[in-house]
Symmetry: C2
Subunit: 394 residues, 2 copies
């Protein structure tokens, strides 16, 4: 047997992943993945832009390219962020990555020594836990309420714990909880972090998918010290299959990400970057996003109505104003891993909530995705799950 590096003990196949491999079998109602609605992908427009890019600059698009990414796309991303999130970035602050997952992995590589502390929300995003785990951090969860991290708890942790190397946050429509940080909490958080020289990761894949309430400024917009590293992606507002995300950071920090990107895969595909750039020049992405918002809002409503009607009294669930997920807390007697195994037999799937707690817990919670199923399927699936929960409680 060959010998693996010690870090591989932390990189394990998840039993959830094995269970969920069957979610693409026909007839399955899946609330498990974070999949966008594929019927909204701009397939015909992409045909058009691909032809134009290959016509205008085929050889350049297919050749090796700069590690940092396609310069016009980097500039457009900086401009979009500035108008939407109150930042003041230029193309030089942007590195194109293969989805924001790659930004998470790079962040682990750049900041985490074995045993270093990473602060995160509780619960937090499973994919970030997986990415960081390879670098053997000590993941410390900061208690959260509906408005974000609890600042008194955070302050106590910052003042008493050593080796805090990174604070990982998802302020908008958090994965898995669907909750967003309030404006006051964002401000208070940034004040609390001031002068501590701890990098703050702002993971923001869903921020453009707000269907209610007012858009809130990003943490990056409050960033006077240049310690906020923003991770963005086109996976949820355009399509995931092109794998285009980005890191936005101060140049001194972005330089590290560029070096790591060069060793990791040289650069992201030129052809897909140019296609997206041409799309942004030719079509109105904001119009597409408006359509996505309206569809997801209806689906969220369908899911909330179904949960309210079908799930047992006393079930608690979040009321996201955007994004893809709602978070459900069931009666303490329900173990959602067991529940999942039974649900899969009835062709309905979700992700058990304990996967989102890096140190365990949340056995009675679940994450439900509403973006990938029609309203009919949502009603049908929630009814099925509710039936199985009732059986378990009786």
């Amino acid at each position: 047997m060959v010998k693996y590096a010690n870090r591989m003990e932390n990189v394990k196949a998840s039993d959830i992943r094995e269970l969920l491999k069957i979610t693409d079998r026909p007839g399955m109602i899946s609330f498990a993945g974070g999949l966008p609605a594929p019927e909204l992908f701009p397939v015909d427009r992409l045909k058009d832009v691909t032809l134009r890019v290959l016509e205008a600059s085929g050889a350049e698009a297919l050749q090796y390219a700069a590690t940092e990414g396609y310069a016009p796309l980097r500039e457009k991303i900086a401009e979009r962020m500035n108008t939407r999130y109150g930042t003041w970035l230029t193309g030089k602050n942007i590195l194109i990555t293969c989805g924001s997952q790659q930004g998470l992995d790079f962040s682990g590589k750049i900041f985490i020594n074995e045993g270093d502390v990473v602060l995160c929300e509780s619960p937090t995003y499973l994919g970030a836990i997986n990415a960081f785990n390879a670098y053997k951090p000590n993941m410390l969860e900061v208690p959260t309420d509906n408005d974000g991290m609890l600042l008194d708890k955070l302050e106590h942790t910052l003042d008493t714990v050593k080796n805090i190397k990174l604070v990982y946050t998802i302020p908008d429509f958090q994965n898995p909880s669907g909750r967003s940080w309030s404006l006051e909490r964002r401000r208070g958080f940034m004040e609390l972090m001031a002068g501590r020289d701890i990098p703050i990761l702002e993971d923001s894949p869903y921020s453009e998918l707000r269907f209610e309430g007012e858009m809130l400024p990003s943490l990056k917009s409050f960033d006077k010290e240049g310690n906020v590293i923003y991770l963005g992606t086109f996976s949820k507002v355009f399509c995931p299959g092109m794998r285009i995300g980005w890191v936005a950071a101060d140049e001194r920090i972005l330089e590290k990400y560029v070096l790591v990107k060069q060793g990791a895969d040289l650069h992201s595909a030129g052809i897909t970057q140019r296609n997206l750039s041409m799309y942004l020049d030719t079509y109105d992405l904001d119009e597409d996003i408006q359509k996505i918002r309206s569809v997801y809002k209806s689906r969220r409503d369908a899911m909330h109505n179904a949960i309210s009607e079908e799930f047992p009294k006393g079930t608690r669930f979040t009321h996201p104003e955007g994004g893809l997920f709602t978070w459900v807390e069931l009666d303490n007697r329900v173990d959602t891993r067991e529940l999942l195994a039974q649900c899969l037999q009835h062709n309905v799937a979700f992700v058990p909530g304990d996967s989102f707690f890096p140190n365990g817990g949340g056995r009675n919670t679940m994450r439900l995705n509403y973006s990938n199923m029609t309203e009919d399927k949502i009603a049908e699936g929630i009814k099925l799950i509710a039936g199985i929960i009732r059986q378990k409680l009786n």
Copy 2:
């Protein structure tokens, strides 16, 4: 100032990279990059396959997809390897990566603890040194001749050095030297490695680009114990801008690569994988490769003729039977970094050879790429370099 992980001390901006940033300025004759000839990219055929893929399966191509890669493409790669390199693989042995650079990074992550020994050829590929360095290995160079690693030296090292975690090899048209391992050396190497449980990385980006002599079996084809991990890529036979490479390995080892890929970027772009798969179904890639071979052979000849005529007597250079590079050893008094600085002022570029020695050395060597310049430019550029060398020696 934020604090970085210790490994970042090993991830540094290369001064070469800074120098070479100017190689894309107009009029530059560059022998520096490992760039394929862009005029051979199948731009029109790619328009055709992209339209077909988006027509037939646009929504699937643009959605999240399996970490392992697009199943039909994985099968086609296994079949191509079996017919060409004498392997016996199936699609289950293949993971699609973002170029083979990603396979190098993953190999470092999977096998190297800080201080572990990685054996490599001397000189060896700069991109592999960069990828591995983030995991803080001790890179130990095994002396090589024109036929590959010297087996008596290798045996001594294997018998006396502890913590050897990986042997990194490039048997076909090595980067940077252009040399290929002989059949006897391949056999002898695999016999020497038998029973040692040390993974062997066979990095093989150029093997299909042979323009002289007979194709030799891959190390993977001699692999009775399942310890050879083969890295392949479509960058040199199709185009680099789609970033499609692969890892071929026994399932027990491939499983680790799949887990690491999931944390690193979830999966490679579905649209580019499907485009390539459709291309392989619709067109004859082998015909394209035949054309590439013929063009590169003429360019190699042009470069060798020019070196023979222009460079000082006593200059030694390799005679690659394929691939993209030739390797030059100059008079000991020439420092090729200084030479590069002067050459750039005259708009001609190459890579100084010391970059390819992980422990230093080779100050009088250089790597010359011949695939990316026309025969005229090759003659002109070599003449320019020769003139500057002569000035230095006088």
